[in-house]
Subunit: 336 residues, 2 copies
């Protein structure tokens, strides 16, 4: 079997590739598991060495907008590539070109294949937003009307519509999954408003100070990297019948707060580590976070067998297992 | 003021143009009413003579996909043009090209103007559908999640998302209105599954037999031409604040049945006229009609001052006033 991952050199893409290669086979769309003969990673950057060295891996370095036809015949496409939220807001045309037109090129390529491939489209909880005339969508479920308030959210939601229609028409076997903010992520802090949801854990564990820009009891939704991959992989392996409706499935989320996170960190790493968190409110970030759904009711995901982490302690334990703190130094990360 | 109507030679476009010209002025986006200096009608066909003869009317005959930049500076755009439901289902690429890419060209033209124009986008109740995994959306309101089950419905829903984001960013002052099946329409029966909702009234009044393909008590939603135009015009004249959310407003609908329609017809035109309706069920049409929302709860439209016709008798009275039956012959129609 031949599998393509767009965005295959990003954090999730690399993690997904490693898991697929480790499993060695995939039960695409509910079929019997078949061996993974080739895994094509499409991204602006080449994949890390451990992936590049795997004989099953090939890399296509370039813009996803231009790479669609170079995918060739594939059985499964994981479409993770895209312009992120902040960039799509800063440059409307770039977001439309990549997140809408680039994805349409992928869908058209898939449609041109002799056998419709399974296509997993990673949408986002960012399809929900705080409509100024209505207010935030604090709790959402599978039937909640998305009211995106960013160009990124609009573009992802358009992607969901395209997946639904291409699937209904039999051009692809598409499945849209709405990802939750992934935490704890390895690597470095970035400009995303959600960056603190990882950095207030990751940095103190590495002996580095980190700022929490929202009040300690601010609720928000997160998903561990492992549970996020569970959802993406289930979307690829469920049968059409099991998957059900062509509308998007929101993945399960753990609703937590900075206070809960800090308490879990203190139990594991002690008060000196927690003291490295600076509680300095940033009204801009707080306002953005307040527009995000903090609670998701995910009946479809649950019926598909997906569950969120039970508590933040489990998320933290997973992070520590994957990234054991180096003695007196920064936590090693395969992606830094 | 300069106004453009795409689809300006169709039934609704022509009716809208006549109403705007008759009023002579328009209060665009809540501003003071300003005289209509030029009304540009864009369509594949030239407008009818009464419009073409009006010195304020100019016509642009051509494909809407290619006409966007020829609109020039406009204060208000009514975007009614599009590939209809059946055609968009028969030819996926045509629908995407016209209903998505053609509309994007209009939006990009609007964005290029020095002052963001008011843009009314006519979406459709066809954004709702009977998801095979979930079932029909029998009753819908402003917060119901659309699950389009046709390419037309998907394309209209994508249009709504584009309107929302172009408006949020200040590129246009967009308003999406979801139209209800318009009945009673003048003219001829067509291939649309909803065609009977007009023809079982129009044809008997003209002394011609007509088939009702659904059981007499099948509920469905209709809107009279006048109430439909009320909604489209209100969308153009409401202030941004009054209009509120950038999500679409579903226009009010009268829920009626063929039995109610026939009873109203009998009271007005007698049993011989009603006897011209042949009750011959067509399972295909019945199945399609059963997937359409029969009841709409339109809180936003109501708060904007829009109301459905109170009963089918009122719809029929309006049709008879606009199209008095000719002695022993077909009802005259400006559009036949």
């Amino acid at each position: 079997m031949r599998i393509a991952i767009t965005g295959g050199a990003g954090f999730l893409g690399v993690s997904l590739a490693r898991r697929i290669l480790q499993a060695g086979s995939l039960a695409a769309g509910g079929a019997e598991p078949a061996p993974v003969d080739e895994l094509l990673l499409v991204d602006l950057f080449p994949p890390p060495a451990d992936l590049a060295d795997d004989p099953r891996v090939s890399a296509l370095v370039g813009n996803v907008d231009d790479s669609a036809d170079a995918l060739g015949e594939v059985d499964v496409i994981f479409h993770l590539a895209g312009v992120v939220s902040g960039a799509a807001e800063a440059d409307f045309d770039l977001g439309m070109r990549t997140n809408v037109d680039g994805f349409r090129a992928i869908l058209e390529h898939a449609r041109s294949l002799p056998t419709p491939p399974v296509l997993v489209f990673t949408s986002s909880l960012a399809v929900f937003g705080a409509d100024p005339a209505i207010g935030p969508q604090e709790t959402v479920d599978d039937d909640t009307l998305p009211r995106p308030q960013t160009s990124y959210g609009i573009q992802k939601y358009i992607g969901e519509q395209l997946v639904a229609d291409y699937t209904r028409r039999g051009f692809v076997r598409g499945r849209s999954v709405r990802l939750i903010t992934v935490a704890v992520r390895p690597g470095k802090a970035n400009a995303a408003a959600s960056s603190f949801m990882s950095s207030i854990i990751r940095e103190p564990l590495a002996g580095v100070r980190a700022v929490c820009p929202v009040p300690p009891d601010t609720p928000f939704a997160i998903s561990s990297p492992a549970r996020t991959l569970d959802g993406i992989l289930l979307a690829a392996t469920a049968s059409d019948e099991t998957w059900g409706s062509t509308t998007a499935v929101t993945l399960p989320a753990l609703t937590t707060t900075p206070r809960e996170m800090a308490e879990a960190l203190e139990r594991v790493a002690g008060p000196e580590t927690v003291a490295l968190i600076d509680w300095v409110e940033d009204p801009t970030i707080r306002a953005i976070v307040d527009t995000w759904p903090a609670r998701v009711i995910t009946a479809r995901a649950t019926s598909l067998g997906l569950e969120p982490e039970p508590d933040f302690e489990s998320v933290l334990a997973q992070y520590l297992a994957d990234h054991p703190p180096a003695r007196g130094g920064a936590a090693p990360s395969p992606l830094v």
